[in-house]
Each structure stands twice: as C-alpha cells, then as structure tokens.
C-alpha cells in the first residue's frame, strides 16, 4: 500500500516538473521528453537514479526519466560483461523490449484505426 502511494507521489511530481517546463519555457513536449531521457540516462550513469527506483518503484521507472536510467543500467551491465563491445550494445539491448512493443502495437494501431475516425 505504501509502495503504491510512493509511486503515485513521486511519479506525479516528476510529471509536474514536465508540466511546469511546458508552461513556463518555450520547450516543446518533444524536447522535454528528449531532455528527460538524457537526464535520466546521466543520473543512471552516476548511479543516482537507482536510489529513486529503490524508494519509489514504478514512480521512478514509469516516467520517461526511467527509460533513460534503463539505458544507463543496460550499458553499464553490458560493459561489465563484454567490455568495449558493451558500450555499443548495452543501450539498444536495454530498450529493445519497450521499443519493440511500442513499434508493433503502434503499427497494429495504425492498421485498425484511421485519422478522423469516430469512436
């Protein structure tokens, strides 16, 4: 129960940061998403983001910052296992699951749904 609350609280707050950036800066949502992934990856590289994951669970992994952290975690693990080769395989391997599901279901969505279609 406490885990659910922490996920809600931390995840909600991360979204608020994004919303404030949208409202108060000229950054487009696309730029903010890119920024979050890069920041998440750097925080992950420094080993800082894992602490937030330990604390907030899905509240840290579900926001796109967590996607960046996943890349960092993947590349570090790959470097541990394969050295320099891991530098070029780690990030892509880590995002493979999420991206594949998004691409396959996005493709299916485009097949069954048309723009301007009434619900």
């Amino acid at each position: 129960m406490e885990g659910l609350f922490l996920a809600f609280l931390v995840g909600g707050l991360i979204c608020v940061i994004g919303q404030v950036l949208i409202d108060l800066t000229k950054l487009t949502p696309a730029r903010i998403v890119v920024l979050f992934v890069v920041v998440g990856c750097i925080l992950g590289g420094l080993g800082l983001y894992e602490r937030l994951v330990e604390f907030a669970g899905a509240g840290a992994t579900v926001p796109i910052l967590g996607f960046g952290n996943l890349l960092a975690r993947g590349v570090k693990q790959a470097v541990d296992e394969r050295g320099l080769i891991g530098v070029i395989t780690g990030g892509f391997t880590a995002m493979a699951g999420g991206v594949t599901v998004a691409v396959v279901f996005g493709f299916l969505a485009a097949l069954v749904s048309s723009p301007g279609m009434k619900e």
């Binding site: 995840g11 279901f105 996005g106």
Partner: protein, 148 residues
C-alpha cells in the same frame, strides 16, 4: 492608430500577467494526478507480475510492455489523446506517452502509405528519443568503461 496599438499592447501584457500563474497551477495539478495514477497503476501491475514469480528485471520488462501496449490500444481507440488534452505532461512524461507518440502519428499519417506514412512517421517523436538516448548511453558506457 498609435493609441489602439498601445491599448492592444497593454491588454496583451495584462493577459500575460493574469493568466500564467493560475493555469500553471491547474495544469500541474492535473499532470500530478493523472501522471501519479499511471505510475500507481504501473506499481499495481508490477506487484502482481512479481507475485507470479518473475525476477526483478523480467518483471520490469513485462510491466513496460503492458503499459506501452495499453497506451497504443487507447491511442487507436482515440481515448489516449482525449486524456492527454486534459492532463498534459501527466500523459506525456510516463512511458505510455512514448507509446502514444509512436501510435498517434502512425495513425495520423496512414494516408501517406504504409512505408513512408506509417513506417516513417511513427518515429517523429520516438526517433529523437531513441537518437539522444542511444548517444547518451554510449557516452555513459565509455565513461563507465574507463572509470570503473
């Protein structure tokens, strides 16, 4: 002529002063509750999958898969974009927003064909995310390699 323009400018300034603070607050609250709810849903799914006996890493992949697939489905049903209009960053920042950013332009550009429409346009926003994510991960990997 000059007077009306001055009035216009004054009005624009007044609007600028009066609206942002309250809209930022309201938008932030919406983003907080919707974004928080998506993360809490993620935690619920996580707890359930973990209880089935999956390892931590596998559980993470399964949860992300379920969230991403659900968001693509809700995008196809035209539901996700309606929620997004209301909640702003609350639906953009979670990983579900990434799935929406792939599915929505794929649907929108369907008329341009399956290859250059659906195939290419699905990466309008996801492409930059993958590009900058990959480049950052290589830098992180290099630094980690030489410093570990």
């Amino acid at each position: 002529m000059n007077a009306t323009e001055q009035k216009k400018q004054k009005y624009a300034e007044m609007v600028k002063h009066a609206s942002p603070r309250s809209t930022v607050l309201i938008n932030s609250l919406k983003a907080f509750f919707v974004g928080g709810a998506i993360c809490a849903a993620g935690q619920l799914i996580y707890n359930y999958i973990e209880s089935l006996g999956f390892a931590r890493e596998e559980t993470g992949i399964i949860v992300a898969g379920i969230l991403v697939a659900s968001a693509a489905l809700l995008t196809a049903l035209r539901v996700y974009d309606k929620i997004a209009k209301f909640s702003g960053a609350g639906t953009i920042i979670p990983i579900t927003g990434f799935a929406n950013a792939i599915a929505a332009p794929a649907i929108e550009h369907k008329k341009e064909g399956l290859v250059l429409g659906v195939g290419a346009k699905m990466f309008l926003i996801a492409g930059p995310v993958i590009v900058y994510g990959t480049v950052t991960s290589v830098i992180v990997g290099l630094v980690y390699y030489f410093m570990r």
